[in-house]
Amino acid sequence: MADPNKVDPIHQFQITDLVSFGNGGVSFTNSALFMALTVGVIGLYLLLSTQKRSIVPNRTQLVSEMLYEFVAKMVSDSAGKAGMKFFPFVFSLFMFVLVANMFGMIPFFFTVTSHIVITFALALLVFVVVIVYGFIKNGPKFLKLFVPAGVPAYVLPIVVPIEVVSFLSRPISLSVRLFANILAGHITLKVFAGFIVTLGSLGFLGWLGAILPLVMTVAITALEFLVAALQAYVFAVLTSMYINDAIHPSH
């Protein structure tokens, strides 16, 4: 990266081993480090800020309470009272994605959610929870999810595969959306920031021209913060909507 004409926007996503355990390929990577950091920061913040449990909250406690109420409202709006059983699950997912995204906005930090392995694992977790709980709660009636009400029997051979594919596409769209947003945003940011250095190597006129990508970089940074929060929100909303399907399988 010392050469100003060589901009390498992908470099930031490289996974490196920090500590290796034996030769089996098991190692503690930078991705794992930032996942652990994410969980640690969430846990510490929520525990410490709510420790005093004051009736009139101070600022940090207020932030925790707002996060709680925000997610609680979201879950009860989309999945109803019965869905509040899954509040801890949705809240954990929301906080993990949110804080991981926000960590990604700090320079030199690794962005955990920019790897599809992570987002797909999260989406698969949601998917499995929905299926397992759906079958436990409703038994075979859960399959009614694939049979829309009021459809004549002779159309069912066409409608049911469509519904099944639509259902199976959920974890894909859920994970790809989060991963693609974060990945694309970070690459764009890096490319525009790289233009500044490249133009700057041209001398005075270059520095003058570099003002444009600098402005763009600042603007994109703000946009990325918005995207980071929004994608966490979207992930959590869709999770609670899918859980709603598990509780009330008929459309």
Partner: protein, 129 residues
């Protein structure tokens, strides 16, 4: 002396009663206003959910269904050795599922943030909705 103070206190105790007697009503009113404002705020926030994220959401729903359909068809073909046929059929099914996904999430978005009704609509708000 003690008696007079007592009566005084009871008098002064009676005085602030109007201050607190309608407290419940006032709390209720304030809460109503607050939740109303909160609802309006949330509604506008979801409506502003930015066209970008709406577009990305609909796009990813559509493409994911196509990919899943084609993938299932491909795997079935590998398993049953039926050439490209199941993949082609499942690709079409995937398309249909994609359209279904898009229609569903668009309906979901409309329900979350209802399009402005005639009453909410400002006069100069013509065709750009």
């Amino acid at each position: 002396m003690a008696l007079s103070r007592k009566t005084k206190r009871s008098q002064s105790g009676a005085k602030p009663e109007p201050l607190t007697s309608d407290l419940a009503a006032r709390i209720k009113r304030a809460q109503g206003e607050k939740s109303l404002a909160g609802d309006a705020e949330a509604a506008s926030a979801t409506r502003d959910m930015t066209g970008l994220s709406r577009g990305l959401r609909l796009g990813s729903e559509f493409i994911a269904a196509i990919l899943v359909g084609a993938g299932i068809g491909y795997l079935l073909d590998l398993w049953l050795k039926t050439g490209p046929w199941l993949m082609l059929v499942m690709l079409l099914v995937g398309f249909a599922a994609g359209v279904l996904n898009v229609v569903r999430s668009a309906a979901e978005m409309n329900r979350a943030a209802p399009p402005p009704t005639a009453a909410m609509r400002v006069p100069d708000d013509d065709e750009d909705e």
